[in-house]
Amino acid sequence: MAPGLVRRMGLRPPQTPPAIVRSAPGNPARSSILTELSRFARRNTLAAAGGLVGAFIVFVAVAAPLLAPRDPLKADFRRMTKPPDAQNFFGTDQVGRDTLSRVIYGARTSLFVAFSAVLLGTTVGSVWGLACGYLRGRFDLVSQRIMEILQSFPDLILAMAISMAIGTGLPAVIIAIAITRIPFGGRVIRSVALSIREMAYVEAGRASGASSARVMTYHVLPQCIAPYLVLASTHLGVAIVIEAALGFLGVGVPPPTPTWGNMLADSITALIPPWWLVLFPGLAITITVLAFNLLGDGIRDTLDPRLSPAFLRLVTGSGRTQPVAAAPTETPAPSLTISGVRP
């Protein structure tokens, strides 16, 4: 719907956020993504550290062929089950493959699966939840029931059953993990959509004859992006653990593809598992999950302090996703401001 129409109807679209001026020094007009990031880092040191480590792991995953000292699949029968030494920093496994290279390549598979699964699952769930919250009625009732049923399965067990049914392999694992993530997205975004559909500007959109699909995409959807990001980032860690567990249980990405879970599964086939085969892949999982959890927590604390009414006010009223850039240039920089309060 045309912005002019909104103005004529005396309603203000949410895209004009009230200024949130924090007592941060510097010229607000100059602030960019970088300054926003540095502000985030100063407020959430741990989350920033998690973000850095996470970025490093993503880098390792992407640059695996450049970083890995050896071919992760190449067996070397002269050097089987060797402890870490100068030649293989993390030792070798039972068929002489280099553990370091396998851990590095494992990051590739694990991150790819986790990112795709979270993206797929959260997106499907969010769109579904958005439709539920906006359309209400019988569709909503039935959908809520289905999501509840999906949530009645323990995550890992549902993922196991699905991955077994549709065959092991990368796509199967991604779909299996994604399905376990759908209800989370569905429920949270539904509650956001439920409150947004009552906003005056949505009503204005409806009144001016926009179709449900149009109102949903142009007026409700933009407000769901912040909670969507929160959801996606908090579920990354879970997805990585599920992927590793599936690999460990032998229903994940099939060997010989190196994944951290597969490596742990391989390690315990030995009567006495060599410690380096257990330690390094597990450490990789732990550090990655820790990093993403810290980052996710930080993002959640920034964007959504516990999905509370205050959060909903934030999302619907003030649009904190793009706040500082919109700080008023016409008003002189106030000397004393309270965050979230218009001077």
Binding site: F153, M160, G250
Partner: protein
């Protein structure tokens, strides 16, 4: 996240009418039964419709090709897999109602025997993990909340963040390895029931329970800390302080009961995590529990076993969450049936 409990002091618990309770119970049970029915439909759809020919799933592509056509038809009929799907589904439900859970393709023992033999071990692990999680999580949470931002609080929070991130099955392998390395100790591998040899059984159960309990305890510590902090900010706690009550009395009489409700909720939600996690942790410790049986069945594509065990796990999850709901009404008199 649910909001933390509010004021409660001064309330007398109104005695809810027995009839009302019964009515509520009935409604809640019917709802849970509906959910379980849906669960069974999803399991059936996932396991029967998605893989195409179940015989290929069982025998593998090669084994399937090697078999003669009559053999295939006979086996399918034997297993009851050649009937129309709705008939198969209906028969499954009837079988469950009658307590017949079918048989493993490969081992010949029935699923009921499997559950009776291996279930107790897994149940012990789950219960012990629950006890450990509360024993560890709650005191840590209380300690954190009453000295926020102190050194112990920092340590507690760091540890809880760490234990949430560490995958239980990895910690399990590490513990097994450490015990083996330094003490040459290995827990018994075959099933020892508690009524056969309590000590041996305890050794078998303790490891997985500790691993699962610590991870769960980390969530509980975190939740109880944040809820206690919220409750401590309330007026009635200040009043209690102002009239000079002992700190212990303030904590255990005034603050804690109000902060517990969300902690109980999260404990119920975490059960899903324990049930799923126990499957991997049992594998890591080599404990022959139900989770191990499920993994074996999944790897062997033993559909009948998988469908019944998955249903069992989901049922436990659903039933416990109904109990959690009921415990609300018992713990918080403001919640009416």
């Amino acid at each position: 996240m649910t909001s933390c409990g509010g004021t409660r002091s001064g309330w007398r618990r109104p005695e809810p009418g027995a009839a009302r309770v019964r009515k509520y119970l009935g409604r809640r049970a019917a709802y849970a039964a509906g959910t379980l029915l849906g669960v069974s439909v999803i399991i059936f759809v996932v396991l029967r419709i998605l893989p195409g020919d179940p015989l290929v799933a069982i025998l593998g592509v090669e084994g399937h090709a090697r078999m003669s056509k009559e053999d295939r038809v006979r086996i399918m009929a034997d297993l009851g897999l050649s009937d129309p799907l709705p008939v198969q589904y209906g028969r499954w439900l009837v079988d469950i109602a009658a307590g017949r859970l079918g048989k493993s393709f490969f081992r010949g023992d029935t699923v009921a025997e499997l559950i009776a033999h291996r279930g107790p071990i897994s149940a012990e692990i789950g219960l012990l993990a629950l006890v450990i999680s509360w024993l560890v999580g709650l005191p840590v949470g209380i300690l954190s909340a009453f000295k926020p931002n102190s050194v112990p609080d920092g340590v507690a929070r760091t540890l809880s963040v760490l234990f949430i991130a560490i995958p239980g099955f990895w910690l399990g392998i590490l513990i097994v390895l450490a015990l083996l390395f330094w003490f040459g100790y290995k827990a018994p591998i075959v099933i020892v029931h508690v009524w056969q040899d309590p000590w041996q059984n305890f050794q078998q159960v303790l490891g997985p329970a500790v691993v699962l309990g610590l991870a769960q305890g980390a969530y509980i510590a975190r939740m109880s800390r944040s809820c206690l902090l919220e409750v401590i900010g309330e007026d009635f706690v200040r009043t209690a302080r102002a009239k000079g009550l002992r700190e212990s009395l303030i904590v255990f009489r005034h603050a804690l009961p109000n902060a517990l409700l969300p902690v109980i909720t999260i404990s119920g939600v975490l059960l899903g995590f324990v049930l799923g996690g126990s499957v991997a942790v049992e594998q890591a410790f080599g404990v022959p529990g139900l989770g191990r049986a499920l993994v074996t069945a999944v790897v062997e594509r033993d559909i009948i076993v998988v469908q019944n065990l998955v249903l069992l796990y989901a049922s436990i999850f659903v039933v416990v969450n109904v109990l959690v709901d009921l415990s609300y009404a018992w713990l918080d008199p403001r919640i009416r049936f």
